[in-house]
Structure formats: C-alpha cells, structure tokens
C-alpha cells in the first residue's frame, strides 16, 4: 500500500515536472523558432512548430536595421557603472558601519535601512526634477546615479564583516594599516564569494532596470536594452521574426551571465532578499 502510494506520488511529481518545465521553456523556444524563419512564414496560415526554411535573415536584419548594438552598448556601460560604483561605496560604508566606532552610527545605519522600506517608485517625480535641474536627462550619469543607493547590499556586506573575527583587523591595524588598506587586503579577500554574488546580481538588476531609464531617457540613442526593445515596433514595424530575434539578442547577455554563474546568481538573489546570506 505504502510502496504503491509512494510510486504514485513519484509519477505524479514527474508528470508535473515535465509539464511545468515544458510550459516554462516553451515561450523562449517558440521565440527562437520564430526568429529562424523568413518573415513571410510567420504570418502564413499554415502552422508549423519548426521553420520550413531555416534562415538567420531576421538576426542579420535586426542587427543591421535597429539600434540594437547601440542599446546593448548602453546597457553594458550603465550596468557596469552601476555595479562598480555600488560595490565601491557599499563596501566602504559597510566596513565603517561594521568595524568603526563613531557617534551616531546606529542612527545613520537605521536611516540608510529606511530605503529598504520606501519603494523607489515613490521617488520618481522629485528624482526626475533633480536630474532635469542638473541637466542630466538623457545622460549616462543621469541613468546610473540614482541606481547606486542600495541599502540591501550594505546590509549583506555588514553582516559578513560582522562575522569576521576582530583579531584579523587588530593584527593589521597593529602593523599600521589604515581602514581602507584593511578593507582592501583583509576583509575583501575574506568575503570574496558574497562580493562577487552581489556584484553579479547588481549587474543583472541594472541591466534589466526598466522604470528609471524609461523616465530619464527620451532619446533613442541613450536607451538601454529593456527600453529600446519596446521601441522595436516603430523600428521594424510588425515583423515578428525580427522582433523575436531582437528579443533573443537582448536576452542573451543576461541569460549567459546566469548560465555561467548560476550558483552565484542564486546566492546573490537570496542574500538580496534579506533571508539568507
């Protein structure tokens, strides 16, 4: 009886795993199948799961016609800028919060953690006004700067630094190393894993950010991929093979980052959720 019911559960589980995996893989596979067709085939009334004529035409046309390469470059620059600046200022701040004693430390830390609670969406209007006054609309600095305040990254790093035995710091301080030196050559190497995980997650989040670039960018030339891809109807008209090629090319960099660094990405997202380091 027990053996039979456990077998039934395994079969039921395997069936749901297959169905769900198929449902979750299908949209991207269908996009790929569409992108590999000639444009005429996508609107033909004959339905085929696979292209009847296989061609890379859509990819070639997408790359030649649209601003896709420019958008990819913008995204790379913006995501890299956000990641480097966020990591630098957050590591320094986390080290100060964790290791240095100064007046008002818990007050400032508590204030910084407020940004956890307040949704970024509520700041859009004043942020746009500020950027407008600073003349940073349609500029890289304008896209990058509001994205570098990331209390969750500080929170995660501080947690890690707190757990490092104070002996390490005291030994280094005895040798006359200043705080920056100690952070760089003692604390950073000891927390390499989590730093990489947070850096990759910050990069992916910045690459994918839609809302802020949508507000601050109006010129096609300054668009990032998530924003640019919404303009492709205008760029290509309704040509589905090309639209799917554009979507897949836009997905490729982050998909690759995920496949290459799967463990770090999941570790980083979990840490960023505040549930697990």
């Amino acid at each position: 009886m027990n053996a039979r019911s456990s077998l039934a559960w395994t079969v039921l589980g395997a069936a749901s795993a297959i169905v769900l995996a198929a449902l979750w893989a299908a949209p991207l596979l269908w996009a790929l199948s569409t992108a590999l067709r000639p444009e005429l085939e996508t609107v033909s009334s004959d339905f085929h799961w696979l292209p009847q004529t296989w061609t890379l035409d859509a990819f070639a046309k997408t790359l030649a016609a649209g601003n896709l390469l420019r958008w990819l470059l913008n995204s790379a620059l913006v995501a890299l800028g956000v990641t480097v600046v966020t990591m630098a200022i957050s590591l320094m701040a986390a080290y100060a919060f964790s290791q240095l004693r100064f007046r008002g430390r818990s007050l400032v830390f508590g204030l910084a953690m407020l940004a956890f609670l307040l949704p970024f969406e509520a700041l859009l209007v004043p942020l746009f006004r500020t950027m407008h006054q600073l003349g940073l609309v349609n500029s890289y600095a304008g896209i990058v700067l509001p994205q570098v305040v990331s209390p969750v990254v500080i929170y995660v790093f501080k947690g890690f630094f707190d757990a490092i035995p104070a002996d390490f710091r005291e030994a280094a301080t005895m040798d006359g190393a200043g705080p920056l030196r100690v952070l760089w050559s003692v604390y950073l190497p000891l927390s390499g894993n989590i730093v990489w995980a947070m850096a990759i997650v910050t990069f992916i989040a910045a690459w994918n950010n839609f809302l802020w670039p949508f507000i601050i960018v109006t010129s096609t030339d300054m668009m990032t991929i998530p924003l640019g891809l919404t303009q492709t109807y205008d760029a290509f008209g309704v040509r589905y093979a090309q639209l799917m090629a554009a979507a897949l090319l836009g997905a490729l960099p982050v998909a690759l980052a995920y496949v290459l660094f799967q463990k770090k990405v999941t570790q980083g997202f979990l840490a960023a959720s505040g549930l697990k380091g």
Partner: protein, 298 residues
C-alpha cells in the same frame, strides 16, 4: 554583532575612528542624501503644492489629498492594481512552492529544472512582453492557434489584465521558487528520518513536516509578492498601455501619466504618498508576522 571592547579603548578609538568613518561613509551618504533622502522628503513636500513637472508652485495644503479621495480614476487604477495582485499573488506563491518541491525531489535533473524555472526571472521585462505579445497575436499567435480561438487577448477588456498576469507569473515565479528552495534546505534531515520511522510517506511527510516548516517562508513570500504586484507598471504599460478602456491602467501608471503627461507633479506626489502608505503597511505587517511566528514557535 557587537564586539566587546574595554570601555577605555572604545573611547580612544571612537575619537580616532570618527574621521576614517566619515571618509568611508562619505560617498554613500552623499548618494543617499541626493538620491534618496532629499527626494523622499521632496515627494511629501510636492504633494502639498500644485507644482508642475519642472516648476515648484504654490502651497495648497491638503488639497491634493482631498482631490485624491474623490478621484474616480484613482479608485479605478487602485482597483485594477488589486485585481492584478489577486491574479498573481497566490499563483506565484503556490507555483513557486510546487517548483521548489519538484527541483528538490528530482535530484538528477535538479540543475536543469531549476535553470528552466529561474531563467525568465533574469531576463529584461521587454523580452517577456515581446514574446507574450507575439504568442497572443489574434490572427497568427500560437495561443489562439492551439485553442482554436480568434480572441484579441490584449485588446479584450475581460482578458487583458489576466493575460498580463499570466505573463508576469511566467516571468517572475523563479524568484519565489528560490525562496522556497532555501526554506526546504533549512529543514533538518533528521525530522524526515524520524517521521519516516513512524511510517509517514509521501503526502503525510509533506503535511506534517514540510508544510509547517515552510510557513514562515510562505508568509514572507505572500507579502513580498503582494508588494511586488502592487508595484506593477512595466508589463501593463508596454503590453496594453493601460487599455482597453483603462482596464489595465494601474496605480503607478496613473501616477506616471499625472506627472509626465499632465505635468501635474503635485498631484502625482500625492498619489505616490498614498502608494507608499499601502506598501509601508504591508512591509510592517510582514515584519510583525515573521516575528510573531518566530516567537510562537520558540
């Protein structure tokens, strides 16, 4: 974790470490002030004025809030947002749990299964919307082909928001799966072994061990998802631009239009404040529930 330091040493180092602390904190604090604290206060201040997008105008007290209470468009947008939350929160939580259980159960294909479920979450929003739009095309879309229907999903007032919700579930469920996987891995193996010795199998193992242990994760997931769903904007904006007949115009979309199309920054700020109030209440509720559960289980 506070380290124990002799009081004298602490006093000495507080003096010596104030300056280094300022140097290390400086860049973050500057960014924090400019791009968080000042804008946060400014949102509140703007909500008390009738400012435009680029000019700060007269103080009007609570007028914007009074308008907000009587604004039918705001009410509709709020209703659409909560409808979207209703359509997404429970499916996203239940499917996330199911996926985590499956990934945990089928160890040999674990990496693949987890990859397939999680990949959409790392993709830009517009990849999801482009593919969804193509699949939902009335005449040549694959969904209508498979269902043998001719429905213009995204232009149908009854179906537009549910269609966006389904796309959202596909796009974001991977994150919840991750939360549940972490929860599952925190359950000590001994608990299962002990229950198995008592003859528990399959469903009863789940009902007696897995589900009760996952309750804090489930609660967290539900509330985080609720907050995330209230913040919906991109999906509906890109796929339907709020239409048909404003049936998919959500709160943030209404705020966006008020600020950036009508250039009514004061009123948009009041909408933002109302939005913040709802999100804050949910965040506090989450903190409270998690603490309450921890205390009850202890």
């Amino acid at each position: 974790m506070e380290r124990t330091v002799l009081p004298l040493a602490a006093a000495v180092s507080a003096k010596r470490e104030g300056l280094p602390a300022l140097v290390l904190l400086g860049p973050f604090l500057l960014a924090f002030l400019l791009f968080f604290l000042v804008p946060a206060c400014e949102t509140f201040w703007l909500s008390l004025t009738d400012s435009s997008l680029t000019r700060t105008n007269a103080f009007v007290g609570l007028d914007n809030y009074a308008t907000l209470l009587r604004d039918a468009s705001f009410r509709d947008a709020l209703a659409n947002t909560f409808y979207f939350a209703l359509l997404t929160v429970i499916p996203l939580t239940a499917l996330g749990l199911l996926m985590a259980l499956l990934v945990n159960r089928f160890v040999r294909v674990q990496g693949w299964l987890q990859g397939v479920f999680f990949l959409p979450f790392v993709l830009p929003i517009s990849v999801m919307t482009l593919v969804a739009d193509w699949m939902l095309q009335p005449s040549s879309g694959i969904v209508n082909h498979l269902l043998g229907s001719q429905r213009p999903w995204l232009a149908d007032p009854d179906w537009a928001l549910p269609a966006v919700a389904i796309g959202t579930v596909w796009w974001t469920v991977g994150f919840n799966m991750l939360l549940f996987l972490a929860g599952l891995r925190n359950i000590p193996a001994e608990q299962y072994e002990a229950a198995a010795l008592d003859g528990a199998r399959g469903w009863s193992l789940f009902a007696h061990i897995t589900w009760p242990s996952l309750r804090p994760v489930t609660t967290t997931c539900l509330i985080l998802q609720m907050i995330a769903s209230l913040k919906v904007f991109g999906q509906t904006y890109i796929l339907t631009s709020g239409g048909p007949f404003n049936t998919t115009r959500v709160t943030l979309h209404y705020m966006y239009e008020t600020a950036f199309t009508q250039s009514d920054a004061g009123y948009a700020a009041a909408i933002a404040m109302a939005f913040v109030a709802v999100v804050l209440m949910l965040s506090l509720l989450q903190a409270w529930v998690v603490r309450w559960m921890a205390r009850r289980d202890a």
